[in-house]
């Protein structure tokens, strides 16, 4: 399930200049697939401005998202892996940015459930942080499901 979502939305990048940029880049594939529109990207960023980096769900991994105020057209998820960590507010370093787009609060729970299995397992998380290619990421996620 999760790997199906990520099939076309995994990106690797050496470095980004700011956490805002990391969200813009991570969201790009979802924009291209028309899962979301620009307003959702702005919502995610202003959310972090307003409430701080609560989207960092485990140290090193951020899951930017926001309430759907019309900016989410279809459920989706993307993954951006950075070689050099970028600093989120409160000096939190992030190497993996996973943008979550959810049309409402219930339709995407299977996706969340898969994600939980991946992130709750420290070993899998570590493997993920060391993954170098898209296929590697997909394989790791598949193994966790």
């Amino acid at each position: 399930m999760l790997s199906a979502y990520l099939e076309e939305t995994i990106q690797f990048k050496d470095t980004v200049s700011s956490w805002e940029e990391s969200i813009h880049i991570a969201a790009a594939p979802l924009l291209a697939k028309e899962n979301i529109n620009d307003s959702y990207v702005d919502d995610m960023i202003s959310n972090i401005h307003e409430f701080g980096p609560y989207v960092i769900i485990v140290p090193g991994i951020a899951m930017p998202h926001a309430q759907n105020k019309g900016g989410v057209l279809e459920n989706g998820m993307s993954l951006l892996k950075l070689e050099k960590p970028v600093a989120y507010p409160e000096e939190k370093e992030v190497k993996i940015v996973m943008v979550l787009a959810a049309t409402d609060s219930s339709g995407h729970l299977e996706l969340i459930s898969d994600l939980a299995s991946v992130l709750a397992d420290e070993e899998i998380r570590e493997e993920l942080e060391n993954a170098q290619t898209k296929d590697e990421v997909l394989r790791i996620i598949d193994s966790a499901e």
């Binding site: 609560y54 899951m63 998202h65 979550l100 609060s105 729970l109 709750a120």
Partner: protein, 483 residues
């Protein structure tokens, strides 16, 4: 060492009964307080534009009726439904309230405060019944139709039941008032007046009984005390003053505004929500009303006609020469007595809150003592002060971080074979009030505390694998083993 333990043990059930009463009081308060602004808006419109208002205006006055009939009860029902059953409960409660509103010819405040939470409860129970049984893809249609169909029945029920209920209440009030008037001891009338006013049955007593009696007397004597028995603004003023000084934080801030509209504008409805918040304070306005009537009697005071609205200005304008001292004294005495009695009630209530905190603390303490001395008391059964059955993860959107946190935690619980604990995710504002523990990111704690200051809130840095969540898991593991 066994003595304090035994004490804590025996006092625990007592405290839980009291805690329940308090939780109920807090529930009423939380249902009413967020909507006080709407009451004030309505009060201003009414004080200004009704025919006897400051700047009568027929066109503007059209706002008065629908606002009090529809907006205010719907808000109460919505809030009450939401507190029990989240957003879906709010919708359900409002549907039910609509039946009441249309079925009754008086504003349905109390009814809305019952039907709102009832609607919330109904949909919550239904949802938990069908949970995990909905085939994927059908959630939306089932969610909408479950509210639609249950709401249809709730609306029919409240619509058909409420008419006869109000008729019976009106009949009962009329009979009781007539009997009390017959005794000649008028202060007793307050026993009926004040509760009837808060329930919006005052029109039937004012226009049905007191005004006819007053007119008869007024024709002969030029004034009548019957015009004053239910319209004295003193008791309400005293109550609002007591809230101004001794109420909880938010009540303290809103009560002064309500005073202006109530006392000078004569819109008594402004104090009703404060009574509904803490029903015991009805004793304050009853005592105030009684002493007011007694004072009017003592001075043989009366008004020349029914004051409408019952503001201090209408009172003075309708006071015949020679009655001024009596009328002013009656209002003043009613205010002071109501203020004193209500203040005592509010203060006692507060103190018992603190008592409870102290009690909980001591239970907590003895519990930890017990945990330490577990070996020594191995035979004793560990009785936690409160069983945890519902944990709510919350975040801003209720879709991402909280869902992830809840799912992960649920998985951990089932790995430990702990069952019977419901773990779900919500938007902060939709977290059900019966949650035992609310887990939220530390940056969102302030916002959570605004709505849930009486709940245990766990503030975390990360929704997954936070040390505080590990602690929680340990704690649940222990209670699970103990039970």
């Amino acid at each position: 060492m066994s003595t304090p333990l035994a004490q804590a043990e025996t006092s625990a059930p007592k405290s839980s009964a009291r805690a329940k009463v308090q939780a109920f009081g807090g529930f009423l308060t939380n249902m009413v307080l967020p909507n006080i602004g709407a009451f004030i808006a309505w009060g201003i419109v009414t004080a200004l534009f009704i025919p006897t208002g400051w700047i009568p205006n027929e066109y503007m006055a059209e706002l008065v009726g629908p606002t009090i009939d529809y907006l205010l009860p719907l808000l109460l029902a919505y809030t009450g439904g939401r507190m029990v059953g989240g957003q879906r409960g709010a919708v359900m409660g409002s549907i039910g309230a609509m039946g009441l509103i249309i079925g009754a010819d008086i504003p349905m405040f109390l009814g809305a405060m019952i039907i709102g939470p009832l609607g919330g409860l109904l949909i919550k129970k239904f949802d938990s019944l069908i949970e995990h049984k909905i085939p994927a893809g059908f959630e939306m249609i089932i969610n909408n139709f479950s509210i639609g169909i249950l709401g249809f029945f709730l609306m029919l029920l409240s619509y058909t039941v409420i008419g006869p209920v109000i008729e019976a209440a009106n009949g009962g009030v009329t009979v009781a008032i007539e009997a009390l008037v017959a005794t000649g001891f008028l202060p007793l009338l307050s026993l009926i007046n004040e509760p009837a006013k808060v329930l919006f049955l005052n029109n039937v007593i004012d226009q049905g009984i007191y005004y006819p009696l007053g007119l008869q007397e007024s024709v002969n004597a030029g004034k009548s005390i019957y015009f004053t028995v239910a319209s004295n603004p003193g008791p309400g003023l005293g109550l609002l003053l007591a809230y101004t000084f001794f109420g909880n934080k938010i009540a303290r801030r809103t009560a002064p505004g309500a005073i202006v509209i109530h006392f000078f504008g004569g819109i008594h409805e402004l104090y009703f929500p404060y009574v509904l918040m803490k029903p015991l304070t009805i004793l304050g306005v009853i005592a105030g009303g009684m002493s007011g009537i007694a004072t009017f009697q003592l001075f043989d005071a009366g008004l020349v006609a029914g004051p409408s609205p019952g503001s201090i200005f209408a009172y003075l304008a309708l006071t015949p020469r020679g009655s001024f001292i009596g009328i002013i004294a009656g209002v003043l005495v009613a205010t002071i007595v109501s203020f004193i009695v209500t203040s005592i009630i509010l203060k006692l209530d507060r103190r018992s809150d603190q008592d409870d905190d102290a009690l909980n603390e001591s239970i907590e303490k003895s519990k930890s003592m017990k945990a330490e001395g577990k070996q020594a008391f191995a035979s004793e059964e560990a009785a936690p002060a409160k069983e945890v059955s519902k944990i709510s993860f919350a975040c801003d959107a209720g879709a991402g971080s909280s869902a992830l946190g809840a799912t992960t935690f649920r998985k951990k619980l089932s790995k430990q074979n702990i069952d019977g604990i419901e773990v779900k995710h919500y938007r902060i504002e939709d977290v059900p009030t019966d949650s035992d523990i609310i887990v939220v990111h530390k940056n969102l704690v302030d916002r959570t505390e605004m709505s849930f200051k009486d709940h245990e809130i766990i503030a975390i840095d990360n929704y997954i694998g936070d040390p505080k969540l590990e602690d929680l898991l340990d704690r649940l593991k222990k209670t699970n083993e103990a039970s």
